[in-house]
Every structure is written in C-alpha cells, then in structure tokens.
C-alpha cells in the first residue's frame, strides 16, 4: 500500500470544523426548532425567531472558537447537534488556554467523571479519611458514619487467618492454599469451587429456605461491576431503570456512568416507612414512557440501603406481577441479606421464584461478600440470573472484572470452614444488633427517631427537626455542620435521592461501643445550636 505522492505534513493547525456544515447545521436548526414548537407561542414568533437567534449564536460561537483556538493549543472539534455541548467545548478551550491540562481531548464520558466530586456522599468520605477519628491518638478527628463497612467481627476473621495460614499464605506443603493451579488463566466467571462455596454460604445466610445453582452464577470483582454488567446486558444507552428512593448513592455511578442508562426515582415516603408502592411504580413507569424513554427494568436493594427494611413476600409477588405486565427486568441487589438482626425473616427473590410459577427470565440477583463477610477489599461479587442469554453475555463481559484466583482460593477455604462460618454469622448478628440498639437509643435521647429496619449496617435517622429550613438546602446545611463542626460524617438523604428532607444515613458498624456516647455528644452540641437558631 504505497502512496504515489510524498506526504507533506501540514503545519500544526487547530482542528477546526472540517465537516461539511450542511448536515450538522441542519441538525442544529432542527433540535431547537422542535423544543420551541413544543412550547407555547405562535409558530412564527415562537419558533422562527429563536431559531434564527440560535443559528446566529452558533455561527458566532463557531467563529469565535476558531479564532480563539488559533492562539491556543488546538482543541479538537466537536460537531454536535446539541447547543449545550458547544458551549461546554468553548469553556473547555478556555481552560486549556490557561494551561491547566494538556490540549489533547478526552471523551465526554470521561469529562463528566473527571469533575471534582461535589456530592456530599464523596466529600464526606474524603474528609473522614483525611482526618480519621481515633479514640486515643486522634480524639478530635472525623467519626466515620458514612461508609457501610462492618468492623465488628474482624477479630474473628483475623483469628481464622492466623490459624489457617500459619507461616505461609501458601498453607502447608502445597495444601489447599498453594499457588499451584491458580496462577494460570482461570475461567473468567469464577472457579467452580468458589461458586459452590458461595451457593452454600448464600443459602445459609438467607435462612436456609432457598438454594442457589452454581451454573447460574457469574462471579465479578465485587458487586459494583455486577450491577454495571447487568445494566450493560439489560439496557441500551438512553434506556432507564426505575429505582425506589432513597437509594444507595453508588447506583448513580454503577448504573449511569459508562452505560448511559438512566435511573428514574420512584419516591417512597416515611408514612409507608419508605416501602415501595406499586402505584408509585406504575405512575413513574407511565410518566417516563410518555416522554419517550424506554424502561428496561426495576433496580432495588433488598434489604434496602439506606433504610434497612425488607420487602415482604407479598410485595415480591406484586413486583413480579408488575414486571411481567410491563415486560421488564428486575435486578434485586441482595448484598445485605446476611446482615439481618431481629426476628424478621429475609425472603430472597430466588425463594419466591422457586415457589411460584413466575417467569424467571426477568429476574437477576446481585450478591457479594463485602457486607456479609466484611471482606470488601477482596472484591468478591456475583450476578445470579435465571436467564441463559444474560448469563452467556455476562460470562463474557466479566473478563473486565474477574476475581483474583489467589483470593478465590482463600475465600473458598474460609467458606468451607463451616464451624467458623457458623460462629461468624451468629456472633456478627448479635454484635450488629447490639450496636444498633445502642445507637438508636442514643439518637432517641436526642429526640431523633429512626425508621424501622431489620438489616444492614446503618440507621435511617430523621433529623428534620434540626434543619433550619425544611428543604434540601436546609438538610445540606445541617450536614455541613455535622461534618465540619461536630466532625461526624453521615450521608444526607439528598445524596440518596430521598424526597423528604432531613433524613440521614448513619452507619454504626465502624464504631466501638465506647464511641457511641462521643457521637451522641457531638450531635447534641450541633442539635442544641440548631434548635436555638431555628
């Protein structure tokens, strides 16, 4: 493949619009036209004049951007039908001229992720990790109540490790924990040993009333990629999932970032103890469909994060009926299934499907060991599906997020030690319940009540009496005070998309019992000043 002319490399020049303007410009006319015509106002004044204005504005911007970029490092052209994006490119090229970042462009997907985290959820986590509370060495540090980790039974796990690993990670004489056989390429969706062990563990923590098939599992490096992978399998860019609020802030990232799938909140109320209603689901479904977005499924966490309540068997039936009626999927994130306290029983989607004649092809369960076994660092998660096509696709996709074989072997060993697992589950349950009771009681003395919950690591606390105005703004003001004055990191309800202001998620499993009075005292100080001011 030789070229007959010698290549003359052009002088470095800014990448101006090289495309034929016709099509692109036509698109730019059509889009604003549509938007305006749908609004009110006479066709001529309402549409022509704004369109003309838009057109001239774009021409002006285009020329302005061309001349601007000549004196600055070139910014790649974007020919997009969306006016907003053109404005964004302009301001980006201004940034470039200040030399803050190199001139070479990164994708629009990446641009939105590269922005500094302005969500309270992340800001709080950062602050707490920069100045972490320690009873002895840093008593004025930030107390972390915003990260759903369970440290209450670490001693048990550490003990198991020290007894079973003894002198070498590799175990004794090439025994169960040697590295032979695990350094090479493994099945990307996890080893059969681990799947079997997970099946046993899941069944045990969910009350022994349901069994899981290893052949329906795809293992992933944590539940985070499990959720994202499922979204890639079930929805196209621009489609949506319905999700009851309040929900885990991480869903915004897991579902939306790279897949381009939307999340449509279905608001739940404190009067229902934040339990989903089918009516609300139906309304949200219809409204979304009206504006032309296709709903592909419902995403829920059961036990719920942040509220910590459970879906009843009846509600599960209703959800399955709804899904069948609308022909959509259900993703049930059951990662907290093993964190039950109290007497209520957890019912998995899998259990309901076992017992009744529902179409199983639309149900997918997400699970992992980050919560129930307190091993988030090890990255062990799973997609559990009844749909062969989804499993086939997920199996291929999970190569982007496979679990280290070394870790798989270690975890298998742990899960098969039934004596240890029993002790762990029982002790963990007691300690979590104890902590929760103390924490909730402590909040009660401050006049703060918590939503009813039966599982999880946090309580969903109603601090609406303490916020200056009954609004998201007021809630964030209180959050800020709690973080920067009381030095407690809690997650504000708005980060969880809760429709009612003033609710806060407080995780109590990273605390020791002695820390609870400290927390309550700090909250009291802020509460006192808050009630004084309001």
């Amino acid at each position: 493949m030789t070229l007959t002319r010698s290549i003359q490399y052009p002088n470095p020049e800014p990448e101006v619009q090289t495309r034929k303007p016709g099509r692109a410009t036509a698109m730019r006319l059509i889009v604003p036209l549509q938007g305006v015509v749908q609004g009110r106002g006479g066709l001529i004044f309402g549409s022509l004049i704004p369109c003309a204005l838009f057109y001239f504005l774009q021409l002006y911007l285009k020329r302005h951007r061309s001349s601007n970029s000549r004196s600055n490092p070139p910014s790649p052209s974007t020919s997009s039908p969306n006016l907003a994006e053109i404005t964004r490119t302009s301001s980006r090229s201004n940034l470039l001229s200040r030399g803050l970042i190199g001139p070479v462009r990164i994708s629009s997907r990446a641009m939105s992720i590269a922005k500094p985290n302005d969500s309270p959820y992340y800001i709080g986590l950062d602050k707490a990790s920069e100045d972490p509370y320690d009873r002895i060495s840093n008593p004025d540090g930030v107390i972390q109540l915003g990260l759903l980790e369970n440290r209450l039974c670490f001693d048990l796990i550490a003990k198991w490790m020290s007894e079973n690993l003894s002198d070498s990670m590799m175990g004794r004489e090439g025994g169960d924990l040697s590295i032979s056989g695990i350094t090479t390429y493994q099945p990307v969706d996890g080893t059969m040993e681990l799947k079997l062990a997970m099946a046993g563990f899941m069944s045990r923590v969910m009350g022994g009333t349901v069994s899981f098939e290893p052949s329906q599992m795809v293992l992933t490096a944590g539940a985070t990629p499990a959720i994202e992978t499922l979204c890639f399998c079930l929805a196209d860019h621009g489609n949506a999932f319905l999700v009851p609020t309040p929900y885990y802030p991480g869903f915004d990232r897991d579902v939306k970032w790279r897949t381009g799938v939307e999340l449509i909140p279905v608001h739940c109320r404190s009067t229902d103890n934040f339990i989903l209603s089918i009516t609300a689901l139906d309304q949200a479904f219809n409204q979304t469909r009206k504006r032309g977005t296709k709903i592909r499924g419902i995403l829920l966490s059961n036990p719920a994060n942040p509220v910590g309540n459970l879906l009843s068997r009846e509600m599960l039936y209703n959800l399955l009926d709804f899904a069948r009626e609308k022909n959509i999927h259900i993703i049930s994130d059951e990662i907290f299934a093993g964190t039950m306290y109290g007497n209520e029983e957890f019912v998995s989607m899998a259990e309901v499907l076992d017992s009744e004649n529902f179409d199983k092809n639309r149900v997918h369960i997400v699970y992992g060991l980050s919560k129930d076994l307190s091993l988030p660092g090890f990255r062990v998660g799973m997609i559990y599906s009844f749909n062969e096509n989804v499993l086939a696709a997920a199996r291929k996709l999970t190569r982007f997020s496979s679990i280290s074989a070394l870790t798989q072997r270690l975890v298998v060993s742990m899960l098969l030690d039934t004596r240890f697992i029993e002790e762990y589950i029982e002790t963990n349950k007691k300690r979590v319940q104890n902590m929760r009771d103390l924490f909730v009681a402590g909040l009660k003395t401050l006049g703060i009540r918590c939503a009813d919950s039966s599982a999880g690591f946090c309580c969903w606390a109603d601090m609406s009496k303490l916020i200056p105005t009954y609004s998201e703004k007021g809630e964030l003001e209180l959050w800020d005070k709690l973080l920067n004055v009381a030095k407690i990191n809690v997650t504000p309800g708005s980060a969880c998309h809760c429709i009612e202001p003033g609710w806060f998620r407080c995780c109590f499993t990273t605390l020791a019992q002695e820390d609870i009075p400290v927390v309550m005292e700090r909250i009291r100080k802020v509460a006192d000043t808050s009630t004084l001011c309001s």
Binding site: M161, F232, N361
Partner: protein
C-alpha cells in the same frame, strides 16, 4: 437489535446480543478444540497441543520458590499488622506499597532507562480491563482508534464491545517486517476520516503481539510525532516488555518521553500487567500509567469496576519490592524465553518453515504462505483447519489478527514444557514432509 415486546420473552440490550465479543472467530474456536481434546504428556499423547494461548509458564518454579521462602509478606499471622486494613481496603488508589513496587518493577524491566511515578499508576483487574478503561476515557461511541495490523484478536472485543468505539487498522506488511510506516499511519487516518469517524488515538503493542518483535526507536518516534501532529492519544500496551530476550532491545515510549523532557507527554498512556512477564494471569493485575492528570483521575474513579483484590496487592507488593528476587526473575525469564525461541525457530527451520525475526514475547510469527493453495483468507483458514484437526496443533491464523497478508500464523511456545514443544515440532516436521511428497 434487542428482542421486541411482541414476543413473550423479555428483551436484552444490543451489547448483550452483539457479536462484538468476537468469540466465534477461529482464534477462539481453536481453543474449544483444545478444551475438548487436550494433549497430555502421558495420558493423552494424541491430543491437541495448545499453541494459541500466550501464557508464560517457563519461570513458574521461581515464583513458587520465592513464596516458599518468603512467608513474612504473605502471612497475616499473629503480630502481622496489615490484615484488618487489608481486607477492608477498597480504595481505588490501590495500596501505596503495591503501586510503589509496580513502579520499581517497571523501571527495572526497562533497565532503569525510564522513571515511573507511583502516583500515576492506576490499578485494574488485568490489562484487558486497562485497555477497555482507557478506551472509555479517550474516545466516545462512534470514535476510532488506529491499531497497526496484525494485532491481538482480543482488541476487537476489549476496545470495541461496550465502548462503542471503532478500530481502524494501520496496515503493515512483510515487505518491511510489518513495521509501521508514516504512510500507513496517514492512510489509516484518512480512511477513518472518510468514514466520518473521529480518530482519538493510536494504540500500539510493544513488543508486538502477534509479531513477537519490539518496535524500533525510529518507528516509535514517528508514531509519537504523528500522534502529536494530529493531537490524538498514544496508548502503548507494553505487556510483553519483560519478555524481551535481551533487555537492551526494548525501547519503551517512556524512555523517549524522558529524553524529550516529557514535552507533549500528556497524550501518552502505557498499559502493563503481570500476566505475561510474571506468568500470573490468574491474579488479574493490570495497570494504566498515564502522563495525563485528568486521565489518571478519571481512570482511578472508573477502576471501581475493576479493582485488584487487596490480598493480591499485598502479596505482590512484598514480592516485587524484593530487588534480589525481581532481578533474578527478570534475567532468568529472559534467558529461558530466548532459549525456547531458539528451539522453536530451529525446529521450524528444519521443517522448512521461516519465521519473522523476533526478539520478544511468548510466540513466534510463522510464515506458511508458500503452503497456501492461493493467497487468500479462505485458503489460510483451510490450512489452519488442517493443522488443527490433522496435525492437532492449535495455532492462531493471521486473519484473526487482521493481517493483510494471508498465510501467517502465531505460534505460542511458552505455555508448555520443553518435551511438549519437541512433540509439537515433530508433528510439524512430519506434516511438512507429507506435504513435500504430495
């Protein structure tokens, strides 16, 4: 297209039903044949010998020995401080000690000719994830990356499937040992433009898979200059850099940037992994090293979907920080791979087969074009099937690597014992003798 609602079954996404995973290509079909009838030295001597999987098993004994002798880093027994933090640790920055160890290891492999800053290292669960992640960050759906042919078949999936990005090939041929030329670069760029794809970057593999050869300094500089002129990115997948038979022959793009004082470096990103050089593909350890701050920040956040187990990071941090071990390993590994390479080249030559002159990697690039009935892809696949079914060797046909010249095959030699390699070479010899007689 997703299945529509008229049917009773619930629909899946376009990604789920698409064929972009490429797993129906001959590259993967050969693996299936191997899985069904795998060669075994004693129990299945007539089985298919796997020469299509680029895995490095030649230095496994060194790893085992290290782990036996050095338990302190890997144990969490009484008094061992790290466990608690480790099992909880899920920060996408990764363990600092591990990043430091990786940076040092990467410097060591390059003979100290390039420095790496641990804070520019982003960890991913394998290089597969690293390449996909970079593609998500550097390109939007519908954009294109330029990739020299022949290339690793997995790129079709890793770079395109979920990202929606296109690959436009930079055609290389045997007239100059498949090296990239400025003309080929420009032609690929024009081709992409004519199809209305925005080119966002060039992705090279150095040392090359499947060629098994390092890219020359002058060619690297040309590619870097091209990327600078077009104001696009350059991704250098250097996953085989520790598998260069002689340390001095590998030039990393990092070295070139260093000599240029890192001018224009914010467009360069390096992918690395321990799957090939250390023979640990099962551990899922990959990295992105970027000279672009925004890419580092974004990649780090996105790596939430593909974190490396903290337990694995901890173990490897200890191992890679042990300079004595890493030096010995790198040196021995190179020697053994070089020896294997010589063995296979000699064996093939005796059978009358020529290969591209290689100096790196776990495979060689074999020329069987004289055996083709006609110089077409179909003839190549016919030959491939014969070799798979009659000679019972799984080798990778050049067409699955998008090679523009038919008749080339990638043959892996590091994923088996020497005895097995002998058997494979005997079979090839016999096959060639039979062909000559016909």
């Amino acid at each position: 297209m997703a299945i529509e609602i008229e049917q009773p079954s619930v629909g899946l996404s376009k990604v789920a039903v698409s064929e972009t995973h490429g797993e129906d290509s001959p590259y993967f079909a050969g693996w299936k044949a191997y899985d069904e009838n795998p060669y075994h030295e004693s129990s299945n001597q007539s089985g298919v010998i796997q020469m299509g999987l680029a895995e490095n098993q030649v230095s496994f004994d060194l790893l085992e020995k290290y782990l036996e002798e050095h338990s302190e880093g890997s144990s969490w027994g009484k008094g061992a401080p790290g466990f608690r933090e480790n099992a909880l640790f899920q920060d996408y920055h990764g363990l600092k000690s591990f990043r430091q160890a990786m940076a040092n290891f990467m410097e060591q492999i390059r003979g100290g000719r390039a420095k790496f800053d641990p804070d520019r290292i982003v960890l991913t669960a394998g290089a597969t994830a690293a390449n996909e992640l970079l593609t998500f960050i550097l390109a939007d759906p519908g954009d294109a990356l330029l990739v020299p042919t022949p290339y690793y078949p997995g790129f079709d999936r890793d770079l395109r499937w979920r990202t929606g990005v296109k690959i436009v090939p930079i055609h290389c041929d045997s007239s100059n040992n498949f090296q990239v030329t400025p003309q080929a670069l420009e032609a690929a760029y024009q081709c992409a433009e004519s199809m209305n794809f925005k080119v966002r970057g060039v992705l090279i593999t150095n040392p090359s898979n499947p060629l098994g050869a390092t890219i020359q300094r002058s060619v690297l500089e040309e590619i870097l200059d091209f990327a600078t002129r077009k104001n696009i990115h350059l991704v250098s997948d250097e996953i085989y850099c520790g598998s260069t038979f002689s340390s001095s022959e590998f030039i990393s793009v990092a070295e070139i940037l260093q000599t240029r004082d890192y001018k224009n470096s914010e467009r360069v990103h390096i992918v690395y992994s321990l799957s090939k050089d250390l023979g640990l593909p099962g551990f899922r350890v990959g990295t992105i090293y970027s000279y672009n701050d925004k890419v580092v920040t974004t990649a780090r956040r996105m790596s939430s979907f593909t974190l490396i187990s903290s337990q694995t990071q901890h173990l490897l941090a200890c191992m890679l920080s042990n300079k004595e071990f890493t030096e010995k390993y790198i040196k021995t590994n190179r020697e053994r791979l070089s020896k294997r390479y010589d063995m296979i080249i000699k064996g093939l030559k005796n059978a009358g087969i020529e290969c591209l002159k290689g100096n790196a990697g776990l495979f060689c690039w074999m020329n069987l074009s004289p055996l083709l009935e006609e110089p077409t892809r179909e003839a190549e696949l016919t030959l491939w099937k014969i070799i798979l079914n009659e000679v019972r060797l799984n080798i990778s046909p050049g067409s699955s690597c998008h090679c523009s010249e038919p008749g080339w095959f990638r043959v892996c030699f590091a994923n088996m014992s020497e005895q097995t390699l002998e058997v494979a070479l005997e079979r090839i010899h016999k096959f060639m003798e039979q062909r000559k007689r016909k």
